[in-house]
């Protein structure tokens, strides 16, 4: 972990409370390369089903590409102004691509038990594989946002953009899907307050609907 990350430790609870979707970023702010790598490596400790690590992160550093993405993302300024723009994608067929490589460090008996079940679980069930793509990227996105908050940075999760147009701009392979984008940087303006929370009892159900 870099010195910067060590200095800015924040509890999970605090990070949850501090995190807000920021729309106006300081365009001058840059994240040092080792700190960004540290954040991403740590975020990649998030779980995936069967450890398939189906996520793929496209880190957009090219300014021209940022402008092209902004043009198909409702002209939202965070796309070009945030220090980092991450397009969280997934390889929807990751389960079918030598899945034994996700379990190389496990004892042989565990490998023999789990690896054959990976194909059995997803084979012929494209919606299940698609759901897995979105779930994995959701968990990864939240890790990135909380780790950023811990480091004193701001984030904005986004799915307000033309997915097909962004797919074309980043040469997304046909068997991959985009889940969402996350901008990371430093706020230029205070974000809005939370716009309205549903009552706890409406969201948390006991035993059955």
């Amino acid at each position: 972990m870099s010195e910067m990350a060590e200095r800015t430790g924040m509890s999970v609870t605090q990070a949850m409370a501090e995190r807000r979707a920021v729309k106006a970023f300081d365009p001058e702010f840059r994240i040092p390369e080792p700190d960004m790598r540290d954040l991403l490596e740590t975020a990649l400790l998030s779980p995936t089903a069967f450890n398939i690590q189906n996520w793929r992160i496209v880190r957009v550093t090219d300014a021209a590409l940022r402008r092209e993405i902004r043009a198909v993302a409702w002209d939202q300024p965070q796309v070009t102004d945030a220090a980092e723009l991450l397009v969280l994608c997934a390889d929807v067929d990751a389960w079918d691509k030598s899945p034994e490589r996700y379990w190389t460090e496990a004892p042989q008996a565990v490998q023999d038990l789990i690896v054959p079940n990976i194909r059995k679980y997803y084979d012929g069930r494209p919606q299940v594989a698609r759901d897995e793509a979105m779930r994995s990227c959701g968990m990864l996105a939240q890790s990135i946002m909380l780790l950023a908050a811990e480091r004193g940075w701001d984030t904005c999760p986004m799915d307000g953009f033309d997915f097909d147009a962004v797919a074309e701009l980043i040469n997304l392979p046909a068997d991959h899907a985009i889940s969402l984008m996350v901008a990371v940087g430093k706020r230029a303006e205070a974000p809005f307050a939370k716009p309205g929370q549903l009552p706890f009892e409406e969201v948390v159900v006991s035993d059955r609907f």
Copy 2:
């Protein structure tokens, strides 16, 4: 926040490193009600697109129902033995159910701008609404798991179960979807080490595939 939660603060980075999928839980361990409520309330500060808060958490406390779910979940012991079993679901049509209620605290001008866009975004795009369900629950799940780690508890994310059978057991409404289950409690055995990480360069792509 309860006293217990205050005592066990842990940084986001530490929680990321400590969290492992635990399979063997101490069946005697219980989480005090205020602490569980605090964890869930804090986790519900996670973001959702357009603040639609489409997630619904079914907290399964009935021991008989836990046994029924275990029977359709590959007999995994964490289903009955963990202190808490949460079925993370989503109302796939949340965007269509009085979406103005998600923005009541925002300034009127913001409400007027955003609320009409919610229907425009999802209407006639069932896969987009389904993706949103999985993304929201993924973010919520990761928040729950990191908040639990901060409190010294263990978790296990699960999608190894018969989704249709669990849907029937919890009376899932037809316009809802199950995303995953999360068990929360105290480990009885040390979990496996990470079974194998893909190389960073395979997962993080610069600008384009």
